[in-house]
């Protein structure tokens, strides 16, 4: 009897949160997969089962492939660059350098600002002729360049903004982890005559691995979620050069109102995130623990 009441209480406590989660996370994820097998309902043309028709359309959609390759490129740069910078920043800020408080504040500030607001600032920064970047390059006699308007540099330009926004955020996790390394480890290493590089490579870096895993998971999710700045900086252009997957979903779903195709694209994005989760929790976690 007592166990039954406990079970009822437990479920009652859980119920409100689970109901909301089911309605806005589990159901939509399931509905996206379901809708991807149907056509979009139009006036006087109700939706019908189309099997893999939407997926066929997707494989023949050049913008989809462009978005995939853009997103992979974006991920391939933002993830390692923001993690490496974060680690470097944390190592510096952890040492007793002059003006440490200012330096730490400077690194962390982008984190607390809205992405949409900082994108406005970066738009100004990148503006041809007028912007700060152009002015700085002009000092060195370099020619003017339209960073956001040119197909060759637009994706790199939005990638830089993402790295700038993220690195300071990840830094604080590394800083916390560095401060938890017992000081006697560095004393012992110094007694053994290990160089600073050896100490970092053999002691600090391995001890930071759990933090790196946590940061990595966040960086991967962010690489497929961060699109706010695109709305301000490029709107996916020029010629889809900066269209990322989620931005493409937005365009298909809310500019063309093709919800079935948007659901298909969402399914792909969910598959990517699930795959990332499997790799990270399954493979990497084991290796970190056994090392």
């Amino acid at each position: 009897m007592h166990r039954t009441t406990a079970a009822i209480h437990g479920w009652l406590l859980l119920l409100p949160a689970m109901a909301i989660l089911a309605l806005f996370t589990h159901w939509p994820a399931f509905a996206a997969v379901l809708d991807s097998f149907f056509s979009t309902a139009r006036p006087r043309r109700p939706r019908r089962f189309v099997g893999l028709g939407n997926y066929e359309q997707m494989l023949n959609d050049p913008v989809f492939w462009q978005a995939v390759s853009n997103n992979l490129w974006f991920a391939a740069w933002t993830i390692p660059a923001s993690i490496a910078l974060a680690m470097l920043m944390a190592l510096w800020v952890n040492d007793r350098i002059a003006g440490r408080a200012f330096v730490r504040m400077a690194y962390f500030t982008p984190t607390v600002l809205p992405m949409i607001a900082v994108a406005n600032i970066w738009l100004f920064f990148y503006t041809p002729q007028y912007g700060l970047l152009e002015q700085l390059l002009g000092l060195f006699g370099l020619p003017s360049h339209n960073w956001l308007g040119s197909k060759d540099t637009a994706l790199a330009a939005i990638t830089v903004v993402a790295i700038w926004k993220e690195a300071g955020f990840f830094m604080i996790f590394y800083l916390a982890a560095l401060q938890q390394i017992p000081p006697n480890l560095s004393e012992a290493a110094a007694l053994e005559g290990a160089s600073r590089w050896t100490y970092f490579r053999r002691v600090q870096f391995p001890l930071l691995m759990p933090t790196t895993l946590f940061v990595l998971i966040n960086a991967v999710i962010n690489a497929f979620r961060m699109v706010d700045h695109i709305f301000v900086l490029t709107r996916g252009g020029p010629d889809n050069a900066t269209t990322l997957l989620l931005f493409h979903i937005y365009q298909v779903g809310f500019s063309f109102w093709d919800t079935a195709y948007a659901a298909t694209l969402t399914t792909v994005l969910l598959a990517v995130l699930a795959l990332a989760a499997l790799i990270q929790y399954g493979v990497l976690e084991k290796r970190i623990h056994y090392r």
């Binding site: 479920w11 040492d95 500030t109 600002l113 920064f125 809310f254």
Partner: protein, 280 residues
């Protein structure tokens, strides 16, 4: 930040230290540069927006013009209502769920917990199309609750509070029960007060996240009455103003000001809160 104050033998000395300080400062200046540029432009007359002269006159005119050019007062109100609503609901829902996971044994609890954790990977941010149609059928489109609803059951919050509640000694719980407290009273009198630093940490993270959130509010709102600041700023800077950078920079700083000022005043709490929220 106290244990690290003992000097490590690997703390750089001499020229190494100078090199490291210079490098750290260069990166810091690089990091703050876009923001400094915006501050310069916002506080100077438009003719100085790309010209740097030490004696350029300071002005608040750009802020006044931005403020009167768009209903920013209403956007501020909307954002404040939004973050308050989200946080209040999150605190209630996450506390109840976390208590269930931490202190109750019931069939299906591990499956339920796995279902909660799934949201850490599949965030509402990516389910925009389906969530829009759900809220549409609920008739809630273009309202502040519509922006809030997908986020109020936060897996992150549940996870964080569950970890916290698990560290509360069972004896405290038992003692409260012996004195005749109900489960709810025990939760409110024992668990919640002990979790205060975590609540503060979670609150700061949640408020800054929803103050800054853009894509979902952009999709579900279409009127001044429900638009938060981020969407209002985007509408303002992309349509209302041509390329008057002074006024755009002023509006941009204005929308970020509360968080920025809060961060500068309570830097320690901010940084520690983000750390605390991340470590568990």
């Amino acid at each position: 930040m106290s244990a690290a104050e003992t000097i490590s033998p690997y703390d750089p000395r001499g020229s190494g230290r100078l090199l490291e300080t210079v490098a750290a400062w260069l990166l810091a200046i690089l990091w703050i540069l876009p923001l400094a540029y915006a501050v310069w432009t916002a506080f100077h007359p438009p003719e100085y927006s790309a010209r740097f002269e030490l004696l350029a006159p300071l002005t608040l005119d750009n802020f006044a013009r931005a403020w009167s050019a768009a209903p920013f007062a209403r956007y501020f109100l909307n954002t404040v209502m939004l973050v308050t609503l989200v946080l209040a609901c999150q605190l209630v829902l996450c506390t109840l769920a976390a208590y269930a996971f931490a202190r109750y044994e019931f069939p299906g609890s591990s499956v339920a917990f796995a279902l909660v954790l799934a949201q850490l990977m599949i965030m509402p941010d990516v389910l925009i199309v389906e969530n829009y149609s759900t809220l549409n059928s609920l008739g809630l489109i273009d309202s502040i609750p519509a922006i809030a609803l997908p986020y109020v059951a936060s897996a992150f919050g549940i996870f964080l509070l569950r970890q916290t509640f698990k560290t509360v000694p069972r004896e405290l719980d038992d003692a409260a029960r012996v004195e005749g407290a109900s489960a709810m009273q025990t939760l409110l009198k024992v668990y919640v007060p002990l979790g205060r630093p975590i609540y503060l940490a979670y609150g700061l993270v949640s408020v800054s996240y929803h103050w800054n959130n853009f894509l979902w509010p952009l999709i579900v709102t279409s009127s001044v009455e429900s638009r938060p600041l981020t969407v209002g700023l985007q509408v303002f800077s992309s349509t209302d103003q041509g390329i008057d950078w002074s006024i755009i920079c002023a509006a941009t700083l204005m929308t970020s000001a509360p968080l920025l000022v809060g961060f500068l005043l309570f830097q320690r709490q901010f940084v520690q809160s983000f750390m605390r929220a991340g470590i568990r």
